[in-house]
């Protein structure tokens, strides 16, 4: 793994988020057009479960990365002020991205997939 101070960390979490978002919307749309589960099942379908699992994994990944950046950029750490700036902002970005991922993903618990 490369340095937690790399400027790419500022956007990496959100790039992962964007890919996840496309996978959620695209995956759902494809399943609904190819093999829609019966509406009577409500929200208890395999596609809901798969989307929820994906959400959980991505959220966890983002949180781990965020924690890594945060720890590395502690005031007592080894980074220069410029590196600490990037580390701090990146940690915040990972954290808020994780929150967004979780919140956007949660409706799969209650809503049927294809109605």
């Amino acid at each position: 793994m490369w340095s937690p101070f790399h400027p790419l960390h500022l956007v990496l979490g959100l790039i992962v988020w964007a890919a996840w978002f496309v996978a959620m919307y695209g995956g759902l749309s494809v399943v609904c057009s190819v093999a829609p589960p019966a509406p009577a099942l409500g929200a208890r379908t395999w596609i809901n479960a798969a989307l929820l699992a994906l959400t959980a994994v991505i959220t966890a990944l983002l949180l781990i990365q965020g924690w890594r950046c945060w720890r590395a950029s502690a005031p007592a750490g080894e980074g220069s002020p410029n590196q600490r700036f990037i580390g701090r902002v990146a940690a915040g970005a990972y954290l808020l991205t994780a929150v967004s991922t979780l919140m956007i993903g949660l409706p799969v618990i209650v809503l049927p997939p294809c109605l």
Binding site: A93, L111, P113
Partner: protein, 838 residues
């Protein structure tokens, strides 16, 4: 010219002016300097603003009373279409980009943007494109299907006139300008800051502009693609959006809103940047929560791309998918709220001066927060089903755009007025202007929320009496005219201040950022010497900085070489890496823009031979443009006494050109990704999608052409590796080999295209394939031409061992061409075969 120039260094300033100044007389049209171009963008944008406002006045006149017939539906539909189009594309984006172009180099402590001729080209494309669009209204054949141009209403069947063509071609033309300015701003912010200005020390406004520019890079291409496809459907009968044949009108809606929603945040970010710049100055306190604000800019930039479907909640998308977009739309409130409360905390801990710019900032706050709250309401799907496409949305949108963009912009204009004129604004007239605009605006649009809840849909030219809408509409119209008076007052105030305003002293607002270290009005070169910047607030920490800059005590104060020079710095740390030498006044941008305008007009008139001529001529001009680069006598010819460390950028392997190429390819890649999206979307969702039984494209010749292209890249790559090692053995012959093999690929690919049994006018499947093949062909063709050009430059001695710059710039284009070919081969050819077999 103000005080910091004393006679002692007057002579130095005159020598700088001789190098950086405009040509006399008509020569001003050849100007490329960011100060000149930025002001031109803003003035032109304001002219379009007044025009768009005039259209709004006509609409409010028609709607003032029920059952009026002052303006019939034909004209009314043109009016609201043009109002939206002009305000969005010809006013909001260009004005903000103009302000950014004007300010960014000054705030970063550099002398110009990194691609000055692109600034000029962008301006002319914008001007000509805008005039073409507006001209259609004068002819009475303006587009009349709404600024969102939904198909099938805009296709050849339901809009047989030329209106939609004006929109599609004109807007695409204007977007060249927006995207090129976006590329230029990104690279300038990352690569040409003051020495030592690390990312964390950058003025916050530049972070906002960086965010805005990157959003333009990724936000505009989907609309460019959609416009090209719709124009092909209209002019050549290809099928993309009509159901028969396997198209889908919803594809247009998706592509349009993939642009359309980020667009709102593209407008909001720079305006919020103005707010974040002004509040600390008038609170006398550094901005609280700089890192939080950077964080929220990044978040906003991304999350706003995940909202587009909230414009399409009523088209019948599954509710779970709608929920994703609904939550994402609400989540965008988080970065907005972070900024609002950071501003609040700055005011809280500072001591606020009440003056005209702050008045507009407070106006912004009230109006924008209100618009934001109704935005969260609209993100709630069931509520959206009721008020979508009613006047509630009209009200919401104007609260967000006028509150979130126009008010901060005017605050910014007042704040930076001394910069343009050297004089201070007057308080009294300005206050009248504010209260009339603010009051009129709220009267018009606050009531409109209720009009919408009472069921009045958008875009109707009249309504019957007694539906409960009468008095609301009348008051809205009255408010509209009050607001118009306010705007008129502002214009009078601006105009008078140039004549009667009090002379501005040095740094009149006690601001902290570097743009106030220039002379007022600003000189063409901004700074005679370029200082080291290690603080976010250079002018607060060293109030004497303007004097030491003007006295030439800092870097790059030498002008004997008569090059336009500024620092090229590291993207993260801001340490100096090379000296950028920038092009001087040039007619090429104007010539290129005129030829592109000719192309646009000939496509409108459907005179295709003329269009072909204009394309080739424009290409030749652009090639000439790239010929005047690097060591060419018109740029930076090799001389005996060149600076060694840092060296001139064209003597290095990493300069702004490479960054510009990569950023441009990001925009281009987004266009390609949109095409891929369209392909998969139609494949899975189009109601009558059908696939021809036989694959229409010959597989093996296509594969062979791909292998030829890959082989062509090899000699290029080894030439490049050698250049990077500092050698140029067989450089020219390797480049010629690459160009030759590439030409073979182009010929083979063209043969495949011509030999394919495609029926793009009956099948969407074939139409998309056709566009994809032409896209590949254009890219590999361009790679060949540009490689041949480099080979010629080696022969002329402009490229070589000591001048490795340009082949390095071109290499990402080769990689991109290879990438899109093989990706296309897999996605458009192999995947459907596998799918079909399964």
């Amino acid at each position: 010219m103000t005080d910091h120039i004393n006679p002692r260094n007057e002579e130095l300033h005159q020598r700088f002016e001789a190098v950086w100044g405009k040509l006399p007389g008509w020569g001003t049209l050849a100007a490329v300097n960011h100060t000149t171009i930025g002001v031109r963008f803003m003035v032109t944008g304001m002219a379009f603003f007044l025009f768009g406002g005039l259209l709004a006045m006509l609409m409010r006149t028609q709607l003032a009373l029920p059952g009026q017939d002052i303006i019939g539906p034909e004209v009314y539909n043109q009016l609201f279409t043009m109002h939206g189009t002009v305000m969005m594309f010809l006013f909001a984006i260009p004005v903000l980009e103009g302000l950014a172009m004007y300010l960014v180099p000054k705030m970063l402590g550099s002398r110009d943007l990194v691609f000055p001729r692109i600034s000029s080209l962008g301006y002319y494309c914008y001007l000509f494109g805008g005039l073409i669009i507006v001209f259609s209204l004068a002819l009475g054949i303006a587009p009349s299907s709404g600024w969102f141009m939904y198909t099938p209403l805009t296709d050849a069947t339901y809009s047989p006139g030329r209106g939609p063509d004006f929109w599609l071609l004109g807007i695409t033309f204007v977007e060249i300008s927006a995207i090129s300015a976006g590329v230029e701003l990104v690279v300038s912010i990352l690569r040409s800051r003051a020495s030592g200005m690390s990312l964390g020390k950058m003025p916050i406004f530049c972070w906002y502009i960086l965010g805005m520019s990157l959003m333009i890079i990724f936000g505009f291409p989907p609309l460019v693609l959609a416009s090209i496809l719709l124009e092909l459907e209209r002019a050549a009968g290809m099928v993309f959006f009509s159901v028969a044949g396997g198209g889908d009108p919803l594809l247009w809606q998706h592509l349009f809103w993939m642009f359309g929603h980020p667009e709102v945040y593209i407008l909001f970010l720079p305006a919020a940047g103005i707010v974040s710049t002004l509040i600390p100055v008038f609170a006398g306190r550094p901005l609280v929560g700089y890192r939080w604000i950077v964080l929220s800019i990044i978040l906003m930039g991304f999350i706003s791309f995940g909202l587009w479907v909230h414009h399409m909640f009523t088209v019948g998308i599954p509710q779970l998918a709608q929920a994703f977009f609904s939550v994402a739309s609400m989540l965008v409130a988080v970065p907005t709220a972070i900024q609002l409360f950071a501003w609040l905390a700055t005011l809280w801990t500072g001591r606020v001066v009440y003056n005209l710019p702050m008045l507009w900032i407070f106006g912004f706050l009230v109006v924008f927060v209100c618009g934001g709250l109704t935005g969260v309401m609209l993100a709630l799907v069931p509520f959206n089903w009721q008020v979508h496409d009613t006047h509630f949305v009209v009200a919401h949108m104007h609260y967000v755009l006028v509150g979130g963009m126009l008010f901060p912009l005017i605050a910014g204009f007042y704040y930076w007025l001394p910069h343009f004129s050297g004089r201070m604004p007057s308080e009294r007239f300005g206050r009248w202007g504010f209260w009339l605009t603010f009051g009129g605006f709220n009267l018009t649009f606050l009531l409109m929320h209720l009009t919408g809840l009472l069921g009045m849909p958008r875009r109707i030219y009249t309504y019957e009496a007694g539906l409960g809408w009468d008095w609301l509409n009348l008051l809205s119209s009255v408010g509209g005219f009050v607001m118009a008076m306010g705007v008129a007052m502002l214009i009078v105030d601006f105009a008078l201040h140039f004549r009667f305003g009090r002379r501005a002293g040095e740094n009149p607002w006690h601001a902290d950022t570097l743009e106030w270290a220039t002379t007022m009005p600003a000189s063409s070169y901004n700074f005679v010497s370029l200082p080291d910047i290690r603080s976010r607030h250079p002018l607060w920490d060293d109030p004497q900085l303007p004097h030491s800059i003007a006295a030439g005590e800092h870097g790059l104060a030498d002008i004997d070489h008569i090059r336009r020079e500024t620092w090229g710095t590291d993207a993260v740390t801001g340490e100096v890496r090379e000296i950028l030498h920038l092009p001087s006044n040039s007619w090429l941008p104007l010539q290129a823009a005129l030829l592109i305008a000719l192309l646009c007009i000939s496509l409108l008139l459907r005179i295709y031979p003329l269009a072909l001529f204009a394309t080739i001529a424009a290409l030749l001009i652009l090639l000439r443009w790239s010929w005047h680069n690097g060591a060419h006598p018109r740029a930076a010819p090799v001389t005996g006494n060149e600076p060694a460390a840092p060296s001139l950028h064209s003597r290095t392997c990493d300069g702004p050109g490479l960054w510009g190429m990569v950023v441009t390819l990001m925009a281009n890649g987004t266009l390609y990704a949109s095409l891929l999206f369209g392909w998969f979307y139609l494949w899975t969702a189009a109601p009558q999608w059908s696939v021809p039984e036989e694959g229409p494209i010959a597989l093996w010749p296509l594969l062979a052409s791909g292998l030829l292209l890959s082989t062509a890249a090899l000699p290029y790559r080894s030439a490049l590796a050698e250049l990077r090692m500092g050698g140029d053995r067989r450089l020219q012959s390797r480049l010629w080999t690459a160009a030759g093999l590439g030409l073979g690929h182009v010929a083979l690919l063209l043969w495949v295209l011509l030999g394919a049994s495609l029926a793009p006018q009956t099948l969407a499947h074939d139409a998309v394939l056709c566009v994809m093949l032409i896209y590949l062909l254009l890219h590999s063709g361009l790679a060949v031409i540009l490689t041949a050009l480099q080979a010629l430059r080696v022969r002329c001695g402009y490229v070589g061992r000591k001048l490795p710059y340009e082949p390095v710039v071109l290499w990402p284009f080769w990689l991109y061409t290879l990438g899109v070919f093989w990706l296309g081969f897999v996605a458009f050819i192999l995947l459907p075969m596998a799918w079909g077999d399964a």
